[in-house]
Every structure is written in structure tokens, then in C-alpha cells.
Symmetry: C2
């Protein structure tokens, strides 16, 4: 019984796939947060190469040799067939999953972190600043920076800094400097602490501090772990590998499922496949993104112009949004607590190529435990959202008798998230309804763009 | 640049390698704890198949098809070349490492856990009882049991149960019942708690409780995660894969290095190679096991008959020992805190085929951080002991100019051990001298065997 498809290093992708070459309608441009005019990424914040990638229409963008060497320290990742889950569900569907949890950081985030560190290094940058919530992104960037000899400064949401010390330690082990946000090191941090010395912080505040840090220092650039086009581009190594691995098994998926927070893991997985749907070769391919009921950006948000960050310093994008001022409930899937969504995913959803679904966290953890007891893998709570929908689709196949092939994007392991599993297993996990009033309030405050 | 060797599933070992077929002198038999006569493993504690494997002289023992299917959910594991570490050290040596951290449990332990669950299931056993310290073994067995539909009861050392709740949660996610030891559920537990209600527990006490549990119930057997011959046998999948992977790179190692607690990860790695040394084909092959200075069983212990457990209920083995009553200092490498050592390793050391070295934990963590910043992998503190010696050997090659090929057995990731990294990085980590007086006291109490 073959349970997984293996690629040799020689079969690894040498280029990233850029969906912008194949969109049926071009992506609406970003707008400047102040002037509201079309804009590039703020040039002092991002290196030139990433800015070029952000807007490139080239279909294939070469992965530099030196970076391929770094990818090879953990890639290609495996594509597994979930035989045991199929048996548990008694489904005729075949379930495949592409597992990113075997990277050194335990998630897909290093795919872009090492690329961003590489391009910054190449342009003479000495130091990167970023924000992190629970620490997935911060730890990936810390690893990327240590590989290329860059300093790394991470503004970590204060509540997580104290409640989840282990991610901080992981970043420090890779040599990063981690500081609880809001901090005394930035103007905005000092201002917030003056008003509220006990402020527990938020991702929005941490972003603002990291951006201010990068603006203030010539040797420093800013780095973002999701949402932007160049981030999704780097993540396409996942889907390109998966496609080649499925080909080895003579499989083309009927359904692709992934979770979305900023959207990078899922986009990285499905973008190389969606081209076949856009161009009519695979009209029946279904692409389903899964988000939390408590932060249902695509299923309940507006398709509107909104800031990428809470402070309104980041460019404005046309995307599904719950309003940049919206702060979601304290879900355990911290990576899915973002008010907006990658514009590429929103665009493809608007054009009808991507479906979206929202799930409650208790049934999500039920699905995760079923997966753990079938396949052994204890998944990150983010990825568990996708597992829930895969199980639902496989059970539909049991009803209908259809032998569908399902591809699950499994973004990472949950070894840092066991407190959440503990709450679930002991019956203490609570669920959150969609906070309609908070969203309506936040949506009343969108920027005006003609 | 090829950074790792990949095996397809078809290239996976179909048989375990049994060193007992090729030992130049046979292994001294186990002795019964009460009669001191040669004995098998206590029959009501272990299933027949494992008892057979324990004493078998067959060179190759087939891995049942159903078990190979389970192995395939995470095996074969990768063999990497540590290019970046070599560069950091500026050494002409080539460093390869066989990494077991990508299993669902994050270590090599599932290699035997799933095998033990399989054989117990086959003989109609319904439930396994075991002990665990920090939780590596308990979590692996919990996973093994969930794969084969067995109940799993884990007696977890009470101090760890409360200080390291995440490993407990991992076991519970896989469906195991975990209880702090000493507990009210066994006679020995009740006795200890009566004398000392605040007793923090020890591995020795937990073993005694698990053994009592298994003796007391017809449907239950006991399971041990290291030391015994059948455990080492199951772990030889590591070395067999590594050998094939190195062959693909046209490499035969000059030095093999691994950490030893009970010895199973390291033995699993080197046993398939040591045959070449025993039979004179590779007389210069060096095999180095690494232990903590604070628990230096092979480097400072006696080669003597001693009980495998603290309570004196387990069989007596001829091995290096610090005395079954010895309780080592609270090292972070919890997996290396055992008073004895796998008899197979001791025997091969006595015969001159294996060297041993003891290391302090502070330089061990220094080496681990260097490794993390070179290769990205944050290793388990146990494995870090081996990293320390690999770095030392590679630096010797820099001095001598020798281009040696070094194989490192890397038993697992350290994502559950970040508190230890935190202590090290913040300068709070303390070191422990060899506790000579405690050892001398413990060695005065060895069982008498003719």
C-alpha cells in the first residue's frame, strides 16, 4: 500500500507560479493609504525584488539557486494518502493531504520567510522587523533571518508573549529579538501604553510597531507573512509539488480544501490547479476555502476597499473584509483571526472560481481529534478547519457513492497548540457566534476610494 | 546541491535486523528478579511474539505487512547532509543526520510503539499499561494504541504531569488515559502516598505502578519503550534506512554518533552497521554513544547484574549501571535519566565495538543552538548530546584536515522542550556534576547473582 508520494530533490520546482499571468481579469491595483491613488508597496518598507514580484505578470518566476538550497533543508514535503481516515469514515472518496508540518518551524510559513530574507539580504538590508500573534510567522521569519545572517526583530502581541512563551523561545533560539507589543520602543507603542499601561496588545498594534520600526531605520525592512501577492507566490511551491506528486499517483483532484486566515497556505496549494479551471480544462474542479464562524471574512464580509492593517498605514486593497477595526474573538486558530483576505483569493472568489465555508471551532476540534486518531497527525487548529470540511465532503461521498479525490492542504502540526486540544478534550472549549454588531461597526469605517 | 537522500516506500526495510545473530559472544541471559535464575520476560507482562523476539537468534525478522502500512504513515524518514553546519564549522568532514523528528509524535519512539501495539493486539490483548517521564514514550504508545484500537493507560511521573501538561494532552488527543504517578490506583501507589502524600513521583515508581496494573488485569499487558532487545530490534528500521540512503550517496560512515538513555534510538541506528566492524570489513568504523555527565552510566557505571527498574520487580540484566536506586539530577534531557543501559549496547561496549562519552548539559545546549541556527532544526535535548560530539569530531577534522564522514542519529525535535532552551538562552541553565556519592550508595545495593 503506497501511502504517500515522494519527490526527489531533482523533481522540486525551480520556479514559482504567478497566477497574475493567467487571471481572466487583472487584479485591482493597491491604493495608497493617504492619497487613495494606485500605489506600489511602500518602497522604504519592502525590497525592490519583492515589489516587482508583487505586480509581475510573468507566469514563472525563477527560484534562485541559493534559495532552492535552503528549501531543500525541508522540502519537498510529503503528499500522503489518508487511508486510515478513509476507512474510519467508510467513504469511497480518496483523501490526499499535503503536509507542511515537517518544516523546522512546523508550518508552511518558512516557504516565504526564507525567500523574503534572501531578497532583503541581496539588496543589502541588515535587519527585518515584523509582528507575530501566536508566533507562527515570527518563528518562520526568525529561521529565515538566521539562514541569511540578518537580524530579526519581532513585535509579539503581549498577551501571547506571556501566555505562549514557547514560540518566543523558538524565535530566540533562532537568534531573533522578541519584544512584547505594545512596547516602549516605538512612538505608537508609547502612546498606547500611556493611555493604557495594561494593554494586552493586538496584531494590528504589533503591525504598526513593526512598520514604524522599519520606517525609522535605514538598515531595516518590514516583512509580512501572508495576504500579499509575493507571499502567495512563494507558497506556490506547495501546490506545484502536490501536482507533481498526484501525477505520480495518476490523480487529479475533484476538490481542494484549505483553511484561510490571510490565505497564503491555501493559495499556495490551489493556485497551480486553478489555472485548469480558469482555462476550462477542469470545469468541475471545486476549490473550497474554510474560515472560522467567528471571523467569516469571505462568507460574511463585504467586498470592499479596506486597509490591510488596523492603524490604516498599510496600502488599501479591494478584498473581502470585516472592517480593519474588527477584532475577532480569541479563537484558538490564531492564524485565522484577520479582518481581510488575500486579494488574489477574493478576486478568484468574486469571479466564481473559489467557494468559501465557515465553521465553528468545536466541530473543528472534533474533526481534528478524529484525524489524529486515524492518521496520527495532531494538526494545527487552523488546518483543522480544513479537515472538518474534508470529512464533510467525504461523508457526502459515502451518501452518494461518488469516488471523489479530495486534496487537503494541511498547513502545520499542532504541537504548540495543545492547550487548545486540552480545552476541547476536557469540555472547556467555548464556541463563538459571528459577532455581527462588531463587524457592522467596523464596516462603517472603511476608507473611501473612487 | 543534494541535501538529503530520499527513499521511496518500496525501498523501505521489510525486515528488522537482529544483532543477536551476529554477536561474537552471545548476550548473557536475563535473570529472574526473585530466583536469580535465567528467565524469559515475565510472561503475563509481555505477549509471546515479543518474548520470542527478545531471545531470537534469527538474523532477519519480518515486519508484518499491516505494520509496514503503519510505518508508511511517517517512514521512511529523511537522511540529510548538514551542509550549513559543515560550513559554520569550516570542516572538511561531511556530516549526515538521520532525523526521526518528523514522526507524528516528534521522535523515534513510535517505531517500537506501533510494533508493540500490533503484537499485543494480535494476541487478543485489549489494553496496554506503561509509564512515562516527560512523556515521549507515553505519547508514542498512545499513538500506537489508537492505530490498533487498544486502550492505553499511562502512569506519568507526577512532577512532569503538572509541569509539562502538553505531553499529557498529546496522549489524551490520541485517546490514552493518563494519570499522575504515584496514584491511588495501585497498591504501591497507595503505599507511597500514605507515607508521603506530596511525593513528586519518579520513573521507577511509575514503572512499578504500570507493572502492577498489567499483572492485575487479564486483558492488559505492559509495554516498555527502550532497553529491551525487542525494542532495539524494532528501531533497526532507522539504521537500515540510513544505510540504504548513504549507499545512494556512495557513502559509508567513518563515525556514527548518537545519544543514549535506554539506548534504543542509537542502537537502532548503529546495529545494522556494527556487523561490518564485528566481521572485520570496517575495522576503523567508530561508534560513539553520548550520555550526560550527570547520569554517566557507561562511562562511570559498573558492568554488573542489576534490576531494570527501581522497585526490583523487573528482570536482572548484566549491564552498565549506576545502581537501580540511583535518581539522577533533574536534567532537561529526561530521556537520558536511566540508571542502566540496553544490555546489547553494554555487551558491544565491553567487547570493544562501541565507545562512550559523557557531556555536560550547558555545552550540549550551546551545540544545539549552533545546530538550530545552521540547519533550522531545534533538536530534543537528548539528541543535542549527540550533536555536541559530532561538532567536536568535525572540529578535530578541521585540525587534522581529515575528510571523515560522520553519521548523526537525531532522535527527535525539541518543540516540547523549549522551556529548557529558554533556561539556556537566558543564562539560567545550571549544570550538574557527576553525583559520585549517590552512585556509590546505589551501587552498594546491587542484587547478588552467581
Amino acid at each position: 500500500m503506497q501511502t504517500k508520494a515522494v519527490l526527489t530533490e531533482k523533481e522540486m520546482p525551480t520556479h514559482w507560479y504567478n497566477i497574475q499571468a493567467d487571471l481572466p481579469e487583472p487584479l485591482p491595483p493597491l491604493r495608497h493609504p493617504a492619497t487613495k491613488e494606485p500605489t506600489r508597496l511602500p518602497p522604504p518598507l519592502f525590497p525592490e525584488a519583492l515589489n516587482e514580484q508583487e505586480f509581475s505578470k510573468e507566469r514563472w518566476i525563477e527560484i534562485p539557486e541559493e534559495l532552492q538550497d535552503i528549501y531543500r533543508t525541508w522540502r519537498p514535503t510529503l503528499l500522503h494518502r489518508a487511508y486510515r481516515l478513509e476507512k474510519t469514515l467508510d467513504t469511497p472518496a480518496r483523501i490526499f493531504f499535503k503536509y507542511e508540518g515537517t518544516s523546522q518551524a512546523g508550518s508552511h510559513k518558512p516557504n516565504t520567510a526564507v525567500a523574503q530574507a534572501y531578497y532583503n539580504k541581496k539588496e543589502g538590508v541588515k535587519r527585518l522587523a515584523t509582528e507575530t500573534g501566536a508566533g507562527q510567522w515570527g518563528s518562520a521569519l526568525a529561521m529565515g533571518c538566521t539562514f541569511f545572517g540578518l537580524e530579526c526583530k519581532v513585535y509579539m502581541v503581549k498577551a501571547s508573549y506571556y501566555q505562549k512563551p514557547y514560540r518566543r523561545v523558538l524565535m530566540e533560539t533562532w537568534g531573533a529579538q522578541v519584544i512584547p507589543s505594545p512596547s516602549e520602543e516605538t512612538e505608537i507603542g508609547r502612546k498606547i501604553l500611556k493611555d493604557d499601561p495594561d494593554c494586552a496588545g493586538s496584531l494590528g498594534i504589533a503591525i504598526s510597531e513593526a512598520v514604524e520600526d522599519a520606517f525609522a531605520r535605514d538598515d531595516t525592512r518590514y516583512s509580512l507573512g501572508s495576504v500579499l501577492n509575493h507571499v502567495l507566490l512563494h507558497q506556490t511551491v506547495i501546490g506545484l509539488e502536490a501536482m507533481k506528486q498526484l501525477e505520480k499517483l495518476d490523480v487529479y483532484p475533484d476538490i481542494i480544501v484549505g483553511c484561510i486566515g490571510g490565505g497564503s497556505n491555501f493559495a499556495g496549494t490551489f493556485l497551480p490547479f486553478v489555472k485548469d479551471k480558469i482555462e476550462g480544462r477542469k470545469p468541475d474542479l471545486r476549490i473550497i476555502c474554510v474560515e472560522p464562524q467567528a471571523c467569516p471574512t469571505v462568507t460574511k464580509g463585504l467586498y470592499a476597499w479596506d486597509y490591510g492593517d488596523v492603524a490604516g498605514m498599510a496600502p488599501i486593497a479591494l478584498m473581502y473584509t470585516l472592517g480593519h477595526g474588527f477584532v475577532p474573538p480569541p479563537l484558538h486558530a490564531g492564524g485565522l483571526r484577520y479582518h481581510g483576505m488575500a486579494p488574489i483569493i477574493c478576486h478568484l472568489h468574486k469571479l466564481g472560481f473559489v467557494e468559501a465555508r465557515a465553521e465553528y471551532q468545536i466541530p473543528v476540534f472534533e474533526a481534528a481529534v478524529k484525524f489524529a486518531r486515524s492518521e496520527g497527525i495532531v494538526a494545527a487548529p487552523e488546518a483543522a478547519h480544513a479537515i472538518k470540511v474534508v470529512i464533510d465532503e467525504a461523508l457526502k461521498c459515502r451518501e452518494s457513492g461518488e469516488k471523489k479525490d479530495i486534496l487537503l492542504a494541511l498547513s502545520g502540526h499542532g504541537h504548540f497548540d495543545l492547550a487548545a486540544y486540552d480545552e476541547f478534550l476536557s469540555g472547556r472549549l467555548q464556541d463563538y457566534e459571528y459577532p455581527r454588531e462588531l463587524v457592522e461597526k467596523a464596516l462603517a469605517d472603511l476608507p473611501k476610494v473612487d
